[in-house]
C-alpha cells in the first residue's frame, strides 16, 4: 500500500458483502435511468420514422409560393428537398370520375410523391402527362394494375390515362375504401386540367430541412422573406412534435408532462443512491472515527469516502449501463417483433447516447454528491467518540416519549425507522417517488386509451356511411347484414347537422342530432361521466352529450327543437359523431323529432376470420351513395399499438416498483445490520424471535406507510395535473381516483414489508446472540 488511499481498495475487499447492497442500489438506479431513457430514445426514433412514413418527411408547408421562390428555397443550405402538391375534388363534390368511380385529383411532382411522402407502392412516377399514379385502392375499386389504361372524366372532358404506378400521399385514407380513388397527375397535366376547368393553379410547396431544428429556426425567416401570412405556413406537427421543436400549442402540454416524467425518473435514481449511501456511511461512522483516532485528517477522511464512492461507481455504473441497454434492447425487440406497426421501425441493437449519458451522469454525479454529505459527517466524528466504542448509529439526541406495555418492540421499530431524519426522508422520498411514477404512468395509459379511439367497445370493423351523412341506410339493411356469415354485430346511427334550436345556454342556435340504437346506448353506459343515462333510453326524451373542452353544451341545459324541449341529462366521454354541439338521443326520440328512421352510418363488427368475399357481398347490398370503409387493419394496428404502450408503461412501472422494493429491503437490511449489536442485547435481555420480527416489521412499515402517505399526498395531485394536461384538456374525461394503481401499490407495500423483514430477521435469528454482541 503506497498511499493511505490504498485503504479504499483493501476496505472494499474486506467489506465486499456489505458493499454489495450499495453497489446493487447504484447499479439498479443507473439501470432504471438507462433503460427508460434508451427505450424512450428508441421509441422516439421509431415514432419519427413512422410519422415520416405516415405524414411525410417534409417539415414546412408554404402556400402562395411561386416556382421561382420555390427554387430559391430549394437552393438554401439548410434545405434538403422541396416538393409540390395541389389537390382537387377531395370531398368528391365535383363530377370527376375515373372508370366511373369518384376521383380525387392531385398534381404532384416526383420529389413530393416519391421523396417527401414515400407514397409510391408499385410501378413508377408518370414520365409523361398521359400517365398517372392511382391510389392503392384502385386495384379493389377499379380492378386495374400498373400498365392498364383508365378513363378520367372531368368537366373538361374525358381523357385516357395510362396507370404508371399505384400509391398515394395518404395510404391510410385510401386503404380499404372503394368510394373514392386518388389520381396523381404530373404538375403540368394537372395544371392544364385545372385551367381547362377554370380552377386556379396554386400548388403548396413542401420543404424538407436538414433537421427538424433547422426547420424550426427557418420559420420566421421564411415568413418575413416571402411575406407569408398566418395561414400560409404550416408545420408537419407530427414530425416536428416528435423532435420536440414544434411550436404547436397543443403539444406544449405533452412536453410539460414528458418533462415531469423525465425529472421523476431522474429523481428516483438520485434518491435511491442517496438513501443507500447514507445508510452505509452512518453505519461506518465508528470506522471513520477510528481512522481519525490514528491520525487521519478530516480532509483525508473526505477523500477516502469520495474515492470509495467512485469505487462503487466503477462496478455499478457500467453494470447498470449494460443491463439497462440490454433490457431496452429486449423491450425494443419485443415491441418490434410482437407489436410491429408503429414500432416496426424500432432500432433493436442501437446504442442511445441519451440513455447512456443519462445513466452514467445520474450514477456518477449522484454518488459523488450523495457521498459528500455523509463524508462530511464522517469527517466530523470526534476521535473520542470512536474510542468509546459507542458510535453504532447517529448520535441520539431525543428519547422516546412513551413506552407502552402494549408493544415496546413496535415503538422501538418505529423509532428505528425515524431515528435518522435524513435517512427516513430519503427512504420515504424514494418510495413516494416510485408511487408518483406509477400514478403518472397510469395517466399515460389513460392518455393512450383516449388517443386510440378504436379501443371503444362500439368501434366498427367495417362502416357504411351515406354520402354526406345522408340517411340512406334502412334498418332492414341492418337485419340483412346481420345475417351475413362472419358478422357479429351491426348497429346504426342517424345524424342530422345544424338543426335550428333554442338552447338554455347562450350562443347555441343550432345543434347536431344523433340517434343511438340499443347497442350504442349500452356502450354509453360504460362511459357515463355525469348524470343518468336512464332518461335517455327509449321514450325517456332526454339527451346526452360528449364532454370535451370544445363542447358548449352541459348537463342540465335544455334544448328546444321545434315544440319539443329536450333536457340534457347525461354526459359521456366519447361518441360516434363529432361531439361539438351534438345531442345524442335514443332512436325513438330521434324519430319523434325528425320523423326519420333510416341511418346515416352503420357499424359492423366482424369475426376474426371472415369469408374473403364479405366486403364484396356487403358492397353488393348497398347503393353508389354509400361509402364502404374497411377499418380492420387500422383497428388491429391501434390495438397492437396500445399493447405496445401497455408493455412499455407496465414494464417500466414494474421496474420502478421492483427497484423501490429492493431499495426499501436493502435500507432495512442495512439498518438492521447497523443495529445488530443492539438487537443482540435485546435478545439477551429477553426479546423473543417474534418480538424481533415485529420490531423490524414496524420499522419497515413505518418507512412504507410514510412513503405511501407522501406518495399519495404528492402523487394524487400529480396524477390530477397530468390528467388535466393530457386527458381532460383534449378529451374532456375528468380525473377519477386511480383505484387500480392504488390497489397495486397497496399489494406492493405488503410485499415490500414482507421482503424487507424476512431476510434480515432470519439472518438475525440464525445468528448466536453471543456472536452478535461479541463481548458478553
Amino acid at each position: 500500500m503506497r498511499s493511505y488511499l490504498g485503504l479504499v481498495a483493501r476496505s472494499a475487499r474486506a467489506r465486499r458483502g456489505q458493499n454489495r447492497l450499495t453497489v446493487l442500489c447504484i447499479a439498479l438506479s443507473v439501470f432504471l435511468v438507462t433503460a427508460i431513457f434508451t427505450t424512450a430514445d428508441m421509441g422516439t426514433r421509431a415514432e419519427l420514422e413512422y410519422m415520416k412514413e405516415k405524414h411525410g418527411s417534409w417539415h414546412l408547408r408554404l402556400e402562395g409560393i411561386s416556382g421561382e421562390e420555390g427554387a430559391e428555397i430549394a437552393a438554401r443550405n439548410d434545405v434538403t428537398s422541396v416538393g409540390w402538391c395541389q389537390s382537387f375534388n377531395l370531398e368528391a363534390e365535383d363530377s370527376c370520375l375515373v372508370n366511373g368511380k369518384r376521383a380525387a385529383l392531385y398534381g404532384v411532382d416526383e420529389s413530393y410523391l416519391v421523396g417527401l411522402r414515400s407514397g409510391l407502392e408499385e410501378g413508377a412516377y408518370p414520365e409523361t402527362d398521359g400517365e398517372a399514379v392511382l391510389s392503392g385502392n384502385a386495384r379493389l375499386a377499379l380492378g386495374v394494375e400498373p400498365g392498364d389504361t383508365v378513363l378520367l372524366e372531368t368537366a373538361a372532358g374525358t381523357r385516357e390515362l395510362t396507370v404508371s404506378g399505384l400509391g398515394s400521399d395518404d395510404r391510410e385514407y385510401f386503404q380499404g375504401q372503394n368510394f373514392l380513388v386518388g389520381v396523381y397527375l404530373t404538375p403540368s397535366a394537372f395544371g392544364a386540367l385545372l385551367t381547362e376547368i377554370g380552377v386556379p393553379v396554386e400548388p403548396s410547396c413542401y420543404v424538407e430541412f436538414e433537421s427538424p431544428a433547422a426547420a424550426s429556426r427557418a420559420e420566421e425567416a421564411l415568413k418575413s422573406l416571402y411575406g407569408l401570412g398566418k395561414g400560409d405556413l404550416a408545420e408537419n406537427t407530427a414530425v416536428l412534435g416528435i423532435s420536440g421543436v414544434s411550436g404547436s400549442r397543443s403539444l406544449n402540454g405533452s412536453y410539460q408532462a414528458a418533462a415531469v416524467l423525465f425529472v421523476l425518473v431522474l429523481l428516483a435514481g438520485v434518491l435511491m443512491i442517496s438513501g443507500s449511501l447514507h445508510t452505509n456511511v452512518a453505519q461506518r461512522t465508528q470506522y471513520f472515527g477510528m481512522l481519525r483516532c490514528i491520525g487521519a485528517s478530516r480532509r483525508q477522511i473526505l477523500r477516502l469516502v469520495r474515492l470509495e464512492a467512485l469505487g462503487w461507481c466503477r462496478t455499478a455504473v457500467p453494470a447498470g449501463l449494460v443491463l439497462g441497454t440490454a433490457v431496452s434492447w429486449m423491450v425494443c425487440a419485443l415491441l418490434r417483433g410482437m407489436v410491429g406497426n408503429e414500432f416496426a421501425h424500432m432500432p433493436v441493437f442501437a446504442l442511445s447516447p441519451v440513455g447512456l449519458a443519462a445513466g452514467a451522469v445520474v450514477g456518477t454525479a449522484t454518488v459523488l454528491l450523495a457521498a459528500r454529505a455523509p463524508a462530511r459527517r464522517a469527517a466530523q466524528v470526534s476521535p473520542v467518540v470512536a474510542v468509546s466504542g459507542a458510535v453504532d448509529e447517529a448520535p441520539i439526541s431525543r428519547g422516546i416519549s412513551r413506552l407502552g406495555t402494549g408493544g415496546v418492540e413496535r415503538t422501538l421499530g418505529i423509532r428505528h425507522a425515524t431515528a435518522s431524519k435524513k435517512n427516513w426522508l430519503l427512504t420515504t422520498a424514494s418510495f413516494a417517488l416510485s408511487m408518483l411514477l406509477l400514478l403518472a404512468f397510469s395517466v399515460a395509459l389513460d392518455f393512450a386509451r383516449e388517443v386510440l379511439p378504436t379501443l371503444c367497445p362500439w368501434q366498427p370493423d367495417v362502416t357504411l356511411n351515406g354520402y354526406g351523412n345522408a340517411r340512406v341506410l334502412s334498418p332492414e339493411l341492418g337485419e340483412r347484414l346481420r345475417e351475413l356469415p362472419g358478422v357479429k354485430n351491426v348497429y346504426g346511427t342517424s345524424y342530422r347537422t345544424n338543426v335550428p334550436a333554442v338552447c338554455s345556454r347562450e350562443g347555441v342556435s343550432s345543434v347536431h342530432l344523433a340517434s343511438c340504437d340499443r347497442f350504442l346506448l349500452e356502450c354509453a353506459r360504460d362511459c357515463v361521466l355525469e348524470g343518468d343515462l336512464s332518461a335517455v333510453l327509449g321514450e325517456g326524451g332526454g339527451a346526452m352529450i360528449v364532454r370535451t373542452k370544445d363542447n358548449p353544451l352541459q348537463v342540465g341545459d335544455t334544448v328546444c327543437i321545434g315544440e319539443r324541449e329536450i333536457p340534457i341529462v347525461c354526459a359521456i366521454s366519447s361518441g360516434v359523431w363529432d361531439s361539438r354541439r351534438c345531442l345524442f338521443c335514443s332512436e325513438e326520440t330521434f324519430q319523434s323529432l325528425t320523423g326519420e328512421r333510416d341511418y346515416s352510418l352503420m357499424g359492423l363488427q366482424v369475426e376474426q376470420n371472415v369469408p374473403e368475399d364479405l366486403l364484396e357481398r356487403i358492397g353488393g347490398m348497398i347503393g353508389d351513395d354509400v361509402i364502404l370503409d374497411d377499418l380492420r387493419a387500422e383497428n388491429a394496428s391501434d390495438r397492437t399499438l396500445f399493447l405496445g404502450v401497455q408493455i412499455m408503461v407496465y414494464g417500466f412501472t414494474a421496474l420502478v416498483a421492483l427497484i423501490s422494493l429492493i431499495n426499501i429491503a436493502s435500507n432495512v437490511t442495512l439498518s438492521v445490520t447497523a443495529r445488530r449489536r443492539q438487537y443482540g442485547v435485546m435478545r439477551a435481555v429477553g426479546m423473543d424471535g417474534s418480538q424481533l420480527k415485529r420490531m423490524v416489521a414496524a420499522e419497515a412499515c413505518t418507512s412504507v406507510i410514510s412513503g405511501l402517505a407522501a406518495g399519495c399526498a404528492l402523487g394524487l395531485p400529480l396524477s390530477m395535473f397530468l390528467h388535466a394536461r393530457l386527458v381532460t384538456r383534449y378529451f374532456g374525461t375528468p380525473w377519477r381516483l386511480p383505484v387500480a394503481p392504488l390497489v397495486v401499490i397497496a399489494l406492493f407495500d405488503l410485499l415490500a414489508v414482507i421482503l424487507a423483514v424476512h431476510v434480515p430477521v432470519k439472518r438475525l435469528r440464525e445468528m448466536e446472540i453471543t456472536a452478535v454482541i461479541g463481548d458478553l
Binding site: G389, A390, D392, E393, P395, I396, S397, R398, G399, I400, L403, G404, T405, G406, G407, V408, E409, L412, R415, A419, R677, Q678, V681, M682, R683, A684, V685, G686, M687, D688, G689, S690, Q691, E768, I769, T770, I773, D775, L776
Partner: protein
C-alpha cells in the same frame, strides 16, 4: 437450596484439528443468594461458561439447571421467556439502548414481557442506584458509572433469581467499580439474588462468597479468596 446446578458442561468450537475446547466437563452448583466470582486469564473460557449459564450459547455436552429447570431442555422461545424472567445480564460495555432514557432502559425487560412495571420497586431501584435525578436522561448524557448502574437496574427490574455479570467494572474507574460492586452485593442481599460475576479485579474477587477459577476450560473451586 441450590439455585444453579451445572453438570458435565462442555463447549467445543470448530471441528477436527481446529477444534477449541473452551469449556471442559465443568460441574458445580451455586446456592441461592450466593455471590460467586469467576476469575481466570483472558481466553481461559470464562465468557463461554457464562454464556452457557445464561442460556445464550448451547453447550456441546452437559446440563445447566436454574431453579431446578433444565435450561437447554427448553425450546428457544421458552428459553427466551425464562431468561427474561429469571436471569439478569450485566455487560462490560453496558449495552444500554441509546434511544431510551435511563428509566425506559431499566423497565425494558418488563415491557418485553407485556407487563406493567412495579412503580414502587422502580422508585426503590432508582433510589438504590442513585439515578433518580437522571431517570429521564439518555445514556449518552451519563457517565460510565451511571450507565453501568442503569444496566444493573435493568438486570434487577424483573427480580431475577440469577444475575450474570461479565466484568461489569471493566470500563469503570476504581471509585465507580467499588460503588457498582457494593450495589450488586446489596441487591443480592436485599432481594436474595444469586450473582455470578466474571472479574479480573482481585479486590472484587476478595469480596465474593466463593471464587471459581477457570483455566483452559477447566473450573476449580477456590472457595473464599485467599491471598
Amino acid at each position: 437450596m441450590e439455585l444453579l446446578q451445572v453438570s458435565g458442561l462442555s463447549r467445543t468450537y470448530g471441528e477436527g484439528e481446529t477444534a477449541v475446547r473452551a469449556v471442559r466437563d465443568v460441574s458445580f452448583s451455586v446456592p441461592k443468594g450466593e455471590f460467586v466470582a469467576i476469575v481466570g486469564e483472558s481466553g481461559s473460557g470464562k465468557t463461554s461458561l457464562l454464556n452457557m449459564l445464561g442460556g445464550l450459547d448451547r453447550p456441546t455436552a452437559g446440563k445447566v439447571r436454574i431453579d431446578g429447570r433444565d435450561v437447554y431442555a427448553m425450546k428457544e422461545k421458552e428459553r427466551t421467556v425464562f431468561r427474561r424472567r429469571n436471569i439478569g445480564f450485566i455487560f462490560q460495555s453496558f449495552h444500554l439502548l441509546p434511544e431510551l432514557t435511563v428509566e425506559q432502559n431499566i423497565i425494558f425487560p418488563v415491557l418485553l414481557d407485556y407487563q406493567k412495571p412495579d412503580a414502587r420497586y422502580l422508585e426503590e431501584l432508582l433510589g438504590v442506584l442513585g439515578l433518580r435525578e437522571r431517570r429521564d436522561h439518555l445514556p449518552a448524557q451519563l457517565s460510565g458509572g451511571q450507565q453501568q448502574r442503569a444496566a444493573i437496574g435493568r438486570a434487577l427490574i424483573a427480580r431475577p433469581a440469577l444475575i450474570l455479570a461479565d466484568e461489569p467494572t471493566g470500563n469503570l474507574d476504581s471509585r465507580n467499580s467499588s460503588e457498582v460492586i457494593a450495589l450488586l452485593k446489596e441487591a443480592s442481599r436485599k432481594y436474595e439474588q444469586t450473582i455470578v460475576m466474571i472479574t479480573h479485579n482481585r479486590t472484587i474477587a476478595q469480596t465474593a462468597d466463593r471464587v471459581l477459577q477457570v483455566e483452559d476450560g477447566v473450573v476449580t473451586d477456590l472457595g473464599r479468596w485467599q491471598e
